[in-house]
């Protein structure tokens, strides 16, 4: 296809494109969705997708792609949507992104592709995430895809952890002709995609379909393997014949606040709260056996301001909470959550208590949570993260009545792999040290990426690390040079 043909496909002249408003994502009404676990966003139809795609300014040097951790060729796939070739667009996305139906839903696009969109200087950026989701869903509903694989190399790669970074490594390497086996500690493949992100933001059926795609491509999976305990990295390399290992075990241990009352019944880590709901389907108790506390008519608060915090509190609302609070010690401007999630949560009626932090959890004297004693904060000088440090206001203490509190203030490194792999260097916070460029660790043939290297981050950053690792694992397996 010549460039002139492509340009003729877009009926909107370049100068008029900025006047076309960003097409709104159809969504479930807030009142309805606050009480169900079905997906909030309903997705563009072909008409909306084409209209949105027509807004692309077709920059000579597209900054959207530069700002995508896996380098999705945005301009090219958007042009294919304009041309009505949706399957072609999906195939174009999949050249760089093995999980497009997932990233189209959970990426913080405002910080990545859309953040650098030229349109955003004047109006709202191109809805790149919405378009990515559209083509991925279209392909799933309408087509088959042909994956051209390289000849088999005879090399074997073990991937530890089946979250977004591990799946990316597996998807890239299988296409290069290597044999790939993914080990997962839990009973279901997907890592944070299945235990962390709730159904209303990322339906598990979507995750299963993407994983099934990888299975069809030839990736092998083994659940119920805790690498470090069930088998060690050294055993994989020396006894099971793997030529390289990629460690993508995720962030790991939830952090607690270290304040009195954290052991009361009713105080959860976000990981536990979300795992019970998402992985174990506790919201379907007693059809599913895993229990959780009944939230109907109860006051629930989450502590933290990230995506995990919002996932937890919006789940609590859907489970019948009467009041659902977000307690965040800084202001809304500093909240790390995706903008769309904050907006959705506000629409659903989540009560945001900014500049507020609990200092103690209070009990009924029988071990059950009854309230959080909180203080109001004000912002002082910027701290190491560059964000203004919250400082408690004297005399601002108050008690917030609560039945359940969910702590979502971050995670620290899970030590299982590190402590069972001699010679694997870690940093002072316990995360695995890996090169930013190659994801190589201090051990020959061992690569690492995602949250176990960087600490808790996003799905797409983990996938970016997976992409780089796949590239350098392929180079290592081809040349044998370390």
């Amino acid at each position: 296809m010549s460039p002139t043909v492509k340009q003729s496909m877009n009926p909107v002249p370049i100068k008029d494109r900025i006047k076309v408003p960003r097409q709104l994502m159809p969504e479930q009404p807030a009142e309805a969705r606050a009480h169900n676990f079905e997906e909030v966003n309903l997705g563009y139809d072909a008409e909306l997708a084409k209209r949105e795609a027509q807004r692309c300014l077709e920059c000579a040097k597209p900054t959207c792609t530069d700002n995508c951790p896996v380098g999705v060729k945005v301009k090219e796939f958007v042009e294919l949507i304009v041309a009505g070739d949706f399957l072609g667009a999906a195939a174009k996305v999949r050249e760089d992104n093995v999980l497009p139906a997932i990233t189209g839903r959970v990426c913080p696009q405002e910080d990545q592709c859309e953040g650098k969109c030229l349109l955003s200087k004047k109006v709202k950026p191109l809805g790149i995430g919405y378009l990515e989701r559209f083509v991925a869903d279209f392909e799933k509903n309408h087509g088959t895809a042909i994956i051209r694989k390289a000849p088999l190399t005879g090399k074997k790669v073990a991937v530890v952890g089946s979250g977004p970074s591990g799946l990316t490594v597996a998807g890239d390497l299988i296409q290069k002709g290597h044999q790939v086996r993914v080990f997962e500690a839990l009973h279901e493949i997907g890592g944070v995609l299945v235990y962390g992100i709730p159904e209303f933001r990322l339906p598990k059926q979507i995750v299963r379909e993407q994983i099934d795609t990888m299975r069809q491509m030839g990736v092998e999976f083994e659940t119920d393997v805790v690498v470090g305990r069930t088998v060690t990295i050294d055993e994989l390399l020396e006894e099971e014949g793997y030529d390289a290992v990629y460690i993508g075990t995720g962030a790991g241990l939830p952090q607690f606040m270290g304040i009195p009352g954290e052991h009361l019944n009713g105080v959860y880590s976000a990981n536990e709260f979300l795992t019970r709901i998402n992985l174990m389907k506790a919201y379907k108790f007693p059809v599913y056996d895993e229990p959780m506390l009944d939230l109907h008519g109860k006051n629930v608060a989450v502590i933290g301001g990230g995506n995990t915090a919002l996932d937890a509190i919006r789940s609590a609302l859907r489970l019948g909470a009467a009041k659902a609070y977000v307690l965040y010690r800084r202001s809304e401007a500093e909240m790390p959550a995706r903008a769309e999630e904050v907006h959705h949560a506000q629409q659903e009626g989540i009560d945001f208590q900014m500049l507020t932090a609990p200092v103690e959890f209070l009990s009924d004297g029988k071990g059950w949570l009854t309230a959080a004693r909180c203080v109001r904060m004000e912002l002082g000088e910027p701290d190491a993260s560059g964000r203004r440090r919250p400082v408690p206001k004297a005399g601002s203490e108050f008690d917030l009545p609560l039945s359940v509190a969910v702590i979502a203030i971050g995670t620290s490194a899970n030590p299982i792999v590190q402590s069972t792999t001699p010679g694997l260097d870690t940093n002072k916070r316990g995360y695995i040290q890996a090169s930013d460029e190659t994801q190589r660790t201090s051990r020959k043939g061992v690569f690492a990426g995602g949250d176990i290297v960087t600490g808790a981050a996003t799905v797409i950053l983990a996938m970016g690390a997976g992409r780089r690792a796949a590239h350098s694992i392929h180079a290592y397996l081809t040349t044998g040079e370390w």
Binding site: G177, A185, R208, D212, T213, D224, N271
Partner: protein
Amino acid sequence: MIPDTIISWGNTLSIPVRGAPVFKIIHAQFLAPGIKRFVIEAPRIARKQQPGQFVILRIYEEGERIPVTIENSDPEQGTINIVVQSAGKTTNLLNSLETGDSILDVVGPLGKPSEIANYGTVVVVGGGVGTAMAYPTAAALKRAGNRVLSIVGARNKELVILESEMRAVSDALMTTTDDGSYADKGFVTDKLRQLIQNGTRIDLVVAVGPLVMMKAIAELTRPERIRTVVSLNPIMIDGTGMCGGCRVLIDGKSEFACVDGPEFDAHKVDFSVLVQRNAMYRAAEQKSMEEFQRAQAKAHECAVTSSVRQGGQR
């Protein structure tokens, strides 16, 4: 020339992609009423299991994940032995499984292994089904050259388990039953108190059993300054440190039983917090159990009815 892989989305099943092996039950046998031993095919776990470790299992797709004691393993055969006491729905369901059935998920070995060294004289205490967890530790301590004095306790004669196994790895074995229906009437703590009062030199006490028992042991050895290790059993989901549900208060600080334990210094454990947290889902557990029993009764009724229809030959 490699043929292209054609990916189709039309026939994707709604069940998750798995890839775990089949965890087949090679042998199942009741050791006591409500306490069953399973020999399970789990070659990876069998190869790595060490005393003090446990597995987490899930029986079927809608099932919960529960931690279960590993009593023993056979790396050559690729099997592990687990011992399960019926308490709630999941354990009752598990104990209804027989030789030839299989368990959907078995993951492990989890937790830090027991610290095995030559301490001198070690008293190993097993209370009820906890004896199954104490047994491999006792055996390893014996192999390490310790003088092992074991105390096994149960509510009554029928519930005493693994007595001969424990005897085989101990220099002396004492058995108690709460009701005196077998061996000496009393509690395991009575035996330990006697040993202390007799002036027996004790370098280490390892106790595995109900929380009340482990707490009583801790209180008994604290004034004597005898190093004491207990194996804790909090509510757990993933077993890899990810969820933090199994946090226990050790010396005023949160630790995770699945990665930092399950064994801890008994004198630093806040037992009351553990008792309180283990009761968190009691209402839900009771509801689960009642529905399970109703379903069982109904199934039984159906079986009776149908056998009656078939001429009453049961």
